[in-house]
Subunit: 770 residues, 2 copies
């Protein structure tokens, strides 16, 4: 990823190849020439796409190279060939390579951006995509489904690419395995940089999905190695392995809100990966285990705080004689020579046990089959601050798990647990803020399990001839950087570092204000130096800006009088709007914030601090298909409203919802005619653990629709809800809130004057998604 | 199998080994010595068991040989070491071999006769059982379950053995795959002679079962090759493959009443096998296909007349998102280069479709998922007599099946079916009554499917470089014997040829009669030269005998006056009793025929021709756990009875039943107080397609219990029932019969005088077995 990296081996190889080949490279500069060059391509040919923007490029690279004479399609200058608009690349045939293309400013008009087949009859074999970039090439409507890289055929490779910003429906990378032509595929996904994938607000947001339940019996042998996954937050499954014999080796999962999930299929190898969490997140997971025969070895789990589905190791309960698309029992799994550092309760078993839900779920959904014939041996568990929590957490009675020679430091009470041994450990700090932990006693006894001799290297590829517990046998290089983005993706590509052009502008009039929004760069701060601005049309927010009064003590008043049914602020894709020290006034037909329907491809966020929002029909209103990561209003007054926050557009009951976080803290709320919060998620699905609603330290007066069934804060189907330390008075609705006890909905410290109440229902009858 | 065959290569190898090894063979002659020798055994040792009978031998052969120095346990003289009584052989460790043992006259006291493990912790690796015999080593109670060869561990082999006569519950050979120590096992089952396995009257009568549904995801790689399977009739699955990547190569299935069934697991190879049927049986099947990715190539199907489950190729419908233990959809199957000769309707698809049974079965039982992505190409279909039946039979709408270049001779109307081509064929007759069929045009076009180049040999291992449709590319040796039992099993062993000592005796008194039964050899004929014999005790039938009057015209009268509740004839295991030209009289407390409760290990059969049976409580009465293959009464008078045939002891509803065939033809029946036939099978299971009841050309007068719900011929749950051309008068029961229309229950040509009736119910509400 370094801009001026020395020539990589691959580039060198390509150089030699192109120098020695039968064709030094025919340069093509439009689609007609490209098509013609592809049609005529012979083994050894190199087709060079001229620098510039290729708009609406539908490239069908169908040709037949040879093992020693591939046909190469490449950019004239790496990173200077931009594929934009409605474009895609199909690859079909044998021994083809594509290098150095940059997909941006557009989206695919078909179901994939790069697809390793041309049509039903023609797939790719032994083909490579190398050093390419797909950045924010996302559908305008996040509900529209596509895949950015779709594998078909056999022995294809995705190497050293940068892929980031997929906001819409569908896994980023998907391997298709239906049919003998696509089974036993041995694809390789290596040395790539998977940049941030935003939270999606629903399922189908995996970064990789390898097969599906219908092909869960297929031997795939897909190799995912040496990749960097950076905040791939799409959903609870960062990688969803759904086929057999896949290998996940030496990848870095950096603060990804989800897990590597062995969802279907068996006999995966998960070896020498780094799973790196964050002190402040319990959404970052490790490995979730379902099915049979997986080997999880030499992995390093650092600072993972999650539980259940998102624990460092989540071994699930199965459904007895499970239907094909549900949960097989865990059997014959080996978890050996891993290290858990500062993960507190890293080993969680019978995750997903739901025998207590037999009243609300059909029998074929009840996960009662305990994990069996599973070995947990030669691991180390280290906490830098001693904790008293259980290392092993069971959500059901313990299954048939064999714990042997697991070494522990920094946990109280270990001496009473079979298979765990308290011992001293040494810590050396690497350069990447990942401390390297090893046993002080390098001769500590190990378990010699069946086939354990095949675990012959440690996480640094050191030989285990001088064997030790945990992932690390020896730290050869104390300066080794675990987090080193320069090692991944195309050498010619540098990840944007933010808002180089951000500026601070001051406006005094309405016209100035509109103009400053039109000309804004990302990161601009717009200061209003006036007492009152009257605004008769919508402010289009197409860049991330901070809008504020010049002084905290002297709030400016923005008075919106625009016509009905348009918002005060309309939010374009991917923007943050940040309001500070303002009085924003509307009318009972106006919404304060709304996403722009024309492009809801990327989540827009709203932050309000120290403002007064009054007189609106609603403060935030979602649209069908819109998604906001965060709406956060703090230290503010909200009054004289019809409604508050309406996030209730995903009514298809497919597990989608309209916001990841709605956070309301330290506000004064009064005179709300109708519902103050309506936040909805329908459909039962475990791929998403959202949304999140925080309602803390607010005072609420004279709010809610009157009626015994009415609810002031509606959160039907929302998974994480906190209602803490608020004061409610004169609430007209029968309920302030109805919480879902089973799903992390909590309330406490609230003061209620009047009859309205908060109730908690433990279970919710749900509609199955599958 | 030849008695005086020249020394086989294996024996020679053993000779060299024992001559050169560190130990020429320590001879042991009792269990103490054997145990001691095993305990002390070192790599290269040979332990020789002395000739003679080893009774109640519990052999635990646990030792550790080396790849080039196995430890061998063998007979002093091949075939002269008999393991009898309650005995077993366990093998555990590495590189062990067992040679030339003969298991007979007994049964195992544990759950297996030969078991490739010693206990939970100790299994066998790289071990062999060679040239051994297990003959009739069956439990006394056929309900007791065991396996005769139980595979555990990895890379074990069963070679050149003879195994026959298992009558009790449980597969003959079973591979256990639970646990990583037993997965990826690569066992080999080769060159064995699997002798007749009798019909079992219920499920769990497989000759081989490789895994089960719980291990259906396990890669097994078991190789079953070059075996002869001779009338292995245990149940509808001769071989039940329930794991992945198993290979079935060059086996001969000779008149086995069942199929090679790909029950669970995927990617089996079925190559170059011979499936040989019989003109007179529609129970002999070929290959039944469930699941994904199987390759069925180069097989030769001759004279198979079965349909549905027992068709030459039965491709089943699956259950959508099937539970683990039920029926996955068929996908990605290749059926290529096979030959069907005189099989009439060899290709049957969507077998098991039961969408019409949604009223009587739960949804999770409904097989509605059609086979998809399946290729049927380059096969040949030949009928020696032209037929007009469909080659391809569909039990549902056709799925996604690709038919390509299948060549046909002897079928009308082929020109109208895509993928089938009428053509000329040549027939050359081999020595084994299997005609070898090939296309006349050796250059006929072939389909070049994905990976078809891997089908590089024909059934005779000829190269397919000069490729042809069908299993045979070239008949190198026209004298090649397909059915050649000398090629299989131990060279020292000869299969018993029957009743060398059979004699014909004449008796004149009751004492003589009892004595002649006591002294009988199998096959004896006992002629009674008297008018009347009075018999006051049970005749114990422990050998197969014919009992007859000296002249057809002059029937002897046998008058049984034995005490209550004992039978006239009590049948020992495996006997046939054959009565001709006799009058057999009993009392209303006596049963005429009954199995001997003390040993019901092997089915006993009853044949009655031209007799009068009168005055009995019942003619045949089963016991719990008893099984008779055939009870057949023809040309006889049956009168003055309380009941007729009571085969109603298997009331557990687990799919078991008490007789395979009850055949009553050309008889005169009169004055039966109660039920005449009560034949029962409870529990829904498809592993058995029985029993069979034939009731043709009889006259029945004054029979049946009076009552509108009473049934004279009760056949609840019995699968094949024929009631044809009988005359009924004065039947007191409301029904003569209630037939199960769906399951091959038919009636016609019956004349009924009076109100009693025969009705046919299409479906039966059944109790699920799993």
């Amino acid at each position: 990823m370094k801009l001026f990296k020395s020539i990589s081996i691959l580039t060198l190889a390509l150089f030699i190849l192109t120098s020695c080949g039968s064709n030094l490279g025919s340069v093509v500069s439009n689609m007609t020439e490209l098509k013609s060059a592809i049609d005529k391509a012979q083994p050894g040919d190199v087709i060079v796409m001229s620098n510039g923007i290729w708009k609406d490029a539908e490239i069908d690279f169908k040709a037949k190279g040879l093992v020693d004479k591939p046909i190469v399609l490449k950019a004239e200058t790496p990173g200077q060939v931009f594929i934009e608009g409605q474009s895609f690349l199909k690859i079909a045939g044998h021994y083809l390579e594509v290098h150095d293309l940059y997909f941006r400013n557009g989206y695919t008009p078909i179901n994939s951006v790069i697809q390793f087949k041309s049509d039903k009859e023609n797939a790719a074999y032994d083909c490579k995509v190398v050093n390419c970039v797909i950045e924010n090439f996302t559908q305008l409507d996040r509900r529209k489904k596509d895949h950015w890289v779709e594998f078909w055929g056999q022995r294809n490779q995705l190497l050293s690419c940068y892929i980031a910003g997929k906001s819409n429906n569908g896994p980023t990378v998907r391997a298709e395995l239906e049919g003998n032509q696509h089974a036993n595929c041995h694809h390789v996904i290596a040395h790539n940089y998977f940049g941030p994938r935003p939270r999606r607000g629903g399922p189908r947001g995996e970064t990789m999905q390898l097969g599906d339940s219908y092909t869960s019996m297929v031997p795939a042998f897909i190799e995912v190695r040496d990749n960097f996954l950076d905040r791939c937050n799409g959903e609870v499954e960062v990688i969803s392995s759904k086929s057999n014999y896949n290998q996940f080796i030496n990848n870095v999962f950096y603060k990804c809100e989800g897990s590597l999930v062995l969802r279907h299929g068996n006999y995966a190898t998960i070896d020498s990966n780094w799973f790196i969490g964050d002190d402040n997140s319990d959404n970052i997971g490790g490995v979730r285990v379902i099915n049979t025969g997986h080997w999880i070895t030499n992995n390093y789990f650092y600072n993972l705080k999650g539980n259940e589905f998102r624990s460092a190791i989540a071994v699930m309960n199965g459904i007895p004689k499970s239907p094909l698309n549900r949960y097989n029992q865990v059997t014959d799994v080996v978890i050996a020579h891993n290290s858990w550092v500062d993960c507190i309760s890293p080993l969680q078993f019978s995750v997903g046990s739901n025998v207590n839900k037999s009243d609300v779920l059909p029998k074929s959904e009840i996960r009662s089959a305990l994990p069996i014939r599973t070995t947990v041996a030669n691991n180390i568990i280290y906490n830098s601050k001693t904790v008293s929590k259980a290392i092993v957490k069971y959500y059901d009675t313990p299954g048939d798990i064999d714990f042997k020679y697991n070494y522990v430091s920094g946990v109280e009470g270990v001496e009473n647990i079979d298979g765990f041994i308290n011992t001293e450990m040494n810590v050396s700090n690497g350069q990447s803020n990942v401390p390297f932990v090893q046993l002080a006693d390098s001769n500590a006894k190990l378990f010699d399990g069946f086939d354990f001799s095949t675990i012959n290297n440690d996480i640094f590829s050191n030989s285990r001839s001088a064997n030790q517990a945990g992932a690390i046998c020896a730290v050869k290089d104390a300066k080794y950087k675990v987090i080193d983005v320069d090692k991944y993706g195309p050498s010619w590509f540098v990840v944007s570092k933010g808002n180089a052009n951000a500026k601070r502008v001051t406006v005094k009039s309405s016209e100035d204000l509109y103009a400053s929004f039109e000309k804004a760069n990302n990161g601009d701060t717009i200061i209003i130096d006036a007492d009152i601005l009257k605004l008769n049309k919508t402010i289009q927010v197409n860049k991330s800006v901070v809008l504020a009064s010049s002084k905290k003590e002297q709030q400016v008043s923005l008075q919106f009088t625009s016509e009905e049914n348009v918002p005060a602020f309309e939010l374009g894709p991917g923007v943050d709007i940040n309001l500070k020290h303002l009085i924003v006034e509307g009318s009972k037909t106006l919404t304060c914030f709304e996403p722009n329907h024309a492009d809801m491809s990327i989540a827009a966020n709203v932050f309000v601090d120290d403002c007064t929002l009054s007189g609106f029909n609603s403060i935030y209103r979602s649209k069908k298909g819109s998604f906001t990561d965060t709406v956060k209003v703090v230290n503010s007054v909200m009054k004289n409203l019809v409604n508050g926050f309406i996030l209730h557009s995903e009514t298809d009951d497919k597990g989608d919802y309209n916001a990841e976080f709605l956070i309301l803290e330290n506000n004064q709320v009064s005179d709300v005619e109708n519902v103050f919060v309506d936040f909805y998620r329908g459909g039962y699905d475990e791929s998403t653990i959202g949304g999140n609603f925080v309602f803390n330290n607010n005072t609420v007066e004279r709010a809610g629709k009157s009626g015994s069934d009415e609810i002031l804060l509606k959160t039907q189907g929302i998974v994480n809800v906190q209602v803490l330390n608020n004061t409610f008075s004169s609430v007209q609705s029968g309920f302030i809130a109805r919480l879902w006890g089973e799903k992390n909905n909590v309330e406490s410290g609230n003061t209620i004057q009047g009859k309205s109440k908060i109730v908690t229902d433990e279970f919710l009858t749900q509609k199955l998604l599958y």
